[in-house]
Symmetry: C2
Subunit: 208 residues, 2 copies
DNA sequence: GCTATTCTGTCACTGACTGACAACTCGGCA
DNA sequence: TGCCGAGTTGTCAGTCAGTGACAGAATAGC
């Protein structure tokens, strides 16, 4: 995570901050699941998290964002991976490999991160406002991703490949997780990695 | 446009409704361009359009949607085209062809529809809230598109291809128009069809 | 003409989100 | 240890998007 490799001993402030954010995220997701996004007020989230409503908005620009922390955490992983892309090798396989590793970390919903992601996406499938919020957040992060891919490729600003690659892969990941979450939510069997491979192969088959 | 070929004589009510919607859309775009989306209130849009604020919300669920009518109009075209897909032939070329025809209709920003689209996208490039709104609207329409493609293909609900195809093509179109609008906005030369072909070829090159 | 339907404006209301300010807490330094 | 600058928080007042209810006006069909 850090550039030096050694974590530089988080200060008390940083720990408090992280704890508060985690608290808000946790209660927000809980309340959204119980009562729906629209029926949950920021006031309720704040009270449950033991902070003021103003503080919630200091951590998250929109109330929906409070439930989307797992998405933001993926972003950190993606960013670090993108920096290590090999500009000489084919791009797509590398990005697909990146996704496969990220999804492997979810352990089909068993790991902590995977379980969170499953909860959030089950919610997104039922709540259009959450889907909208996640797309908005994704669009913001996309700029960073495109820049990273462009640099790795040594491409100029006119080259459309970095953007198309980043957007396509984001779509692939989104469709994968969404499909997986929807099936699991409906009580069906679904393996995350398998779903990803199906999606990836379907994408390949389309372009031939 | 119509299924029968003869337009079924719009009633006075329909004409009024269409006129009101058009008025709101027009003044909203104008005001957004002049003062920005955030600085434009629904009250101002309503006053400029000669209606009440309540009426604006009756036509558009969110104020940003008032500027996105061109997007919704594309939807109508896309829907009718999707119904005519040939399930036996390769899917992607047909969808690419569809886009090419739609973009041809824009006449590189010269036609009325093309000019409107250019204005809206220039705005979207500058206004993150508008981008968010357009993505939200696109996500809603996506469901219809996926269903249409699935039926044309005769695929079942488990087949990921309809969704991936629809999403990929939407991305392709979005990147194309966005790139084109951004360049034109920056005073550079840019041909819409040429941009599309570049994007399409870049996409093909990625997947090899 | 009359009536049912649709459209609109007005009003009252909730709740997301923002800016300003004061109080408090933490980190570093003498 | 005490002090100071920076970061964090709560409170308060305010703007404005968006919604539901209701009454009145306009239109469609007869």
């Amino acid at each position: 995570m850090s550039e030096t490799g050694t974590t530089p001993a988080p200060s008390l402030r940083e720990r408090r901050r992280h704890q508060t954010e985690s608290d808000i995220c946790h209660v927000a997701l809980e309340l959204f699941e119980q009562h729906g996004v629209a029926a949950t007020t920021v006031e309720q989230i704040a009270e449950a998290a033991g902070v003021s409503a103003r503080t919630v908005f200091r951590y998250f620009p929109h109330k929906e964002d409070a439930a989307l922390v797992p998405h933001r955490d993926i972003e950190a992983t993606v960013t670090s991976r993108l920096a290590g892309l090999d500009g000489g090798a084919p791009l797509l396989p590398q990005l697909e490999q990146m996704w496969e590793e990220i999804l492997t970390g979810f352990d089909n919903g068993t790991s902590e991160a995977g379980h969170q992601m499953l909860r959030v996406w089950s919610l997104i499938c039922r709540e259009p406002t959450l889907l909208a919020a996640s797309l908005r957040a994704e669009a913001q992060r996309m700029e960073h991703a495109v820049t990273a891919v462009r640099q790795a490729l040594g491409a100029d600003a006119d080259d459309l490949r970095p953007r198309l690659a980043a957007e396509s892969l984001a779509t692939l990941g989104r469709v994968t997780i969404e499909t997986w979450a929807a099936k699991r939510d409906a009580g069906q069997e679904a393996d995350l990695l398998e779903t990803f491979q199906q999606a990836r192969d379907a994408m390949h088959r389309l372009t031939r």
